[in-house]
C-alpha cells in the first residue's frame, strides 16, 4: 500500500464478522491498534489504512474510498477536522467520527456543527462500535432516501415531459392539418357551387357529402386545438370573481337561454385563483350542456358553491334528460358522445375541456346524475385567491 500509510489487517476468526473499510487518521500506532481492537471485539472485520497527513489521506480516499473515517483531533502535522474539507473537495459523502483524547464539550459540539458525524473519547472506546454502527446505518438510510427522492424527481420529470410532448403533438397535428383541410373544404364547396346541376344528381350528392365531412373535420380540429391549448395558454392567473364570470356566461349564452326559456340562477359564488377565460369556459360548457340536453320542461339551472375543507365545491344542477350512471366517467373523455348527431349537435369536447381546466387548478370534476331526473355536475377548486403552492403556472 502507500508509503505514508500503515496497513493494518485484522484476520477474522470464529463467528462471521461485518466487513468494514475504515480510514484512520492517527499518528500514534498504539491508539490505532486500540481503535481497531475495539471494533474487532464488537464484530467488525476491519480493513484499515492509517494516515497522518493531508497528502496521504487524499491519496487513500482517492485510491480506495473508505466506508468510515476515524480521525484523531490532534495530530503533529495536521488537524483531524481538516479531513472533512478533503472529503468535501473530493465529493465524497463519508461519515467521519472524531476519536480523540481530551476534547472539551464546546469543541466537540463545534466539530459536529462543522460536519463530523460524532465523537468518541479515547478512554471511552467501548462506545466506538455502536457509534460506527449508527453512523453507517444513518448513512445507508440517507442514501436510500436520496435515491428515492431522485427516482421520484425523475419520474415526475418524465411524466411532465411526456405530457408536454403529447400536448405539443396535438397542437402541431391540429394546426398543420388545418391548412390542407381548408383546401379540401374550399374546393369541394367551389366544385359544388360551380358545377351544381351540371353533372348528374349523384355527383351533386357526393360533393355535398365530401364538403359536409370536410367542414365537420374542421370543427373537430378546432376543438382538438382548443383542448390542447388548455395547458398552453399564456394568460395570467388572477383572483376571479365567479359571480362576474357567471354574468358574462349568461350573456354569452343569451340566445340559447332565450330560445329555451331557461332559468339560470347562481347563489353567491366565491372568488378563485384561475384564468378568467378558463373559468368562463367551464361554466359556459356546463350550463350550455344543461340547456342543450333539456327535457320537455324549460331548463332550470342552478349554480352553487360551498366550502368543504380546503376546497370550494361547485355544483351545476339541471332538470334535463340526465345521464345514465354507467356513463358518469366516459362523458369527460375527448370526443365521447352519448347521442346521435341527429338528436344533439356537438363533438363531445366541452366536458373534456372542463375536466382539463379544473384539474389544471388542482380540482376534480364529476357527475351525479340519473336518467330522467336531471344532472348535477360537481367540481372542486382550491380555496384562496392567491397563487397556491404547487399549482402549475
Amino acid at each position: 500500500m502507500n508509503s505514508a500509510g500503515t496497513k493494518l489487517e485484522k484476520i477474522s476468526a470464529g463467528e462471521p464478522k461485518a466487513q468494514l473499510r475504515a480510514l484512520l487518521v492517527e499518528d500514534n500506532p498504539l491508539d490505532a491498534t486500540l481503535v481497531l481492537r475495539a471494533l474487532y471485539q464488537e464484530g467488525f472485520d476491519v480493513a484499515a489504512d492509517v494516515v497522518q497527513d493531508e497528502d496521504a489521506f487524499t491519496r487513500s480516499v482517492r485510491a480506495n474510498p473508505p466506508e468510515i473515517v476515524l480521525a484523531d483531533y490532534n495530530l503533529p502535522n495536521w488537524k483531524g477536522m481538516e479531513a472533512l474539507a478533503v472529503l468535501r473537495r473530493e465529493g465524497l459523502d463519508i461519515p467521519m467520527i472524531l476519536v480523540s483524547g481530551a476534547l472539551g464539550d464546546v469543541t466537540a459540539v463545534e466539530c459536529i456543527k462543522q460536519g463530523a458525524t460524532d465523537y468518541v473519547l479515547k478512554d471511552g472506546l467501548t462506545r466506538l462500535p455502536e457509534v460506527v454502527r449508527r453512523a453507517l446505518r444513518e448513512r445507508h438510510e440517507h442514501r436510500l432516501r436520496q435515491q428515492a427522492e431522485k427516482d421520484l424527481a425523475r419520474k415526475v420529470d418524465e411524466l411532465a415531459r411526456s405530457n408536454a410532448d403529447l400536448e405539443q403533438f396535438a397542437y402541431v397535428a391540429s394546426h398543420d392539418l388545418q391548412e390542407p383541410l381548408r383546401m379540401v373544404t374550399a374546393y369541394t364547396q367551389l366544385l359544388g357551387e360551380r358545377y351544381k346541376g351540371r353533372l348528374d344528381e349523384n355527383a351533386d350528392k357526393f360533393i355535398g357529402y365530401a364538403s359536409e365531412g370536410a367542414v365537420r373535420m374542421q370543427v373537430l380540429i378546432q376543438d382538438l386545438l382548443a383542448f390542447s391549448r388548455v395547458g398552453r395558454t399564456d394568460a395570467a392567473c388572477a383572483s376571479v370573481d365567479c359571480n362576474a364570470v357567471m354574468e358574462e356566461v349568461r350573456q354569452a349564452l343569451g340566445s340559447a337561454i332565450e330560445e329555451s326559456g331557461a332559468a339560470v340562477t347562481s347563489a353567491n359564488l366565491p372568488a378563485v385563483w384561475a384564468e378568467r377565460t378558463q373559468m368562463a369556459q367551464v361554466f359556459q360548457n356546463l350550463i350550455g350542456n344543461a340547456i342543450k340536453f333539456r327535457g320537455k320542461e324549460p331548463p332550470v339551472v342552478l349554480v352553487k358553491a360551498e366550502k368543504t375543507g380546503e376546497n370550494w365545491l361547485f355544483s351545476v344542477t339541471d332538470n334535463g334528460i340526465g345521464i345514465a350512471a354507467e356513463y358518469a366517467d366516459s362523458v369527460f373523455v375527448v370526443f365521447q358522445r352519448l347521442h346521435a348527431r341527429s338528436e344533439y349537435s356537438g363533438n363531445g369536447i366541452g366536458l373534456a375541456i372542463c375536466k382539463k381546466i379544473v384539474e389544471r387548478y388542482g380540482g376534480k370534476i364529476w357527475l351525479e346524475s340519473f336518467t330522467g331526473s336531471g344532472s348535477t355536475f360537481k367540481f372542486t377548486l382550491p380555496q384562496g385567491t392567491e397563487n397556491p403552492q404547487g399549482a402549475r403556472p
Partner: protein, 145 residues
C-alpha cells in the same frame, strides 16, 4: 376617373391565389391581381428587381405568414423598414390564429390581420370586404413610380 388598383398576393399556395382571384372576379373595383410564391420574390417584386424590373408598385399587399425562403413576418419587417414600401398597406392573411402571430404582425406595422376562413363563403366574404375597405372606403397614398 379612378385608376385600377393593383393588389399583390404573396402566397405559396396556388390554390389560395386562385380563391383570391375567384373571390374578386367581377368586383366593381376591377383590381389587378399579381401574385408571387415566396418572400424573396415578394421583395424582388416590390423593389422591382430581376424579372420583376417592370413590376408595378401595388396599392395593397395580401401577405401569407408561412412562406418559403423568407417568412411573411420578415417580408413585413423589411417593407415597414423601407422609406417607400412602408406606405403600402399590408393585410396579413394567414391560417394562423396564434395570438403571438397576430401580436407580432401589428408590432411590425402590419395594417390588419385576417385569419383565412376555412369555409368557401367566408373566404370569399373576407376577401371581398378587404378589397372593399381598402379600395372603396379607405383613401390610399399615391404610390411613387
Amino acid at each position: 376617373m379612378k385608376s385600377i388598383p393593383h393588389l399583390l398576393v404573396v402566397d405559396d399556395n396556388p390554390a389560395d391565389v386562385i380563391l383570391v382571384r375567384e373571390a374578386l372576379a367581377g368586383s366593381v373595383h376591377r383590381s389587378r391581381i399579381h401574385s408571387v410564391e415566396d418572400g424573396v420574390e415578394a421583395m424582388a417584386f416590390l423593389n422591382r428587381k430581376e424579372k420583376h424590373a417592370n413590376a408595378i408598385r401595388p396599392d395593397l399587399v395580401i401577405l401569407d405568414l408561412n412562406l418559403p425562403k423568407k417568412a411573411g413576418l420578415a417580408v413585413l419587417a423589411a417593407m415597414k423598414a423601407g422609406p417607400d414600401l412602408r406606405r403600402i398597406p399590408v393585410v396579413i392573411f394567414s391560417t394562423s390564429r396564434l395570438s403571438e402571430d397576430i401580436q407580432r404582425s401589428y408590432e411590425l406595422g402590419g395594417n390588419c390581420y385576417v385569419t383565412k376562413p376555412g369555409n368557401l363563403d367566408e373566404f370569399f366574404a373576407a376577401m371581398k370586404s378587404i378589397e372593399e375597405f381598402w379600395f372603396g372606403t379607405a383613401s390610399l397614398p399615391r404610390q411613387g413610380e
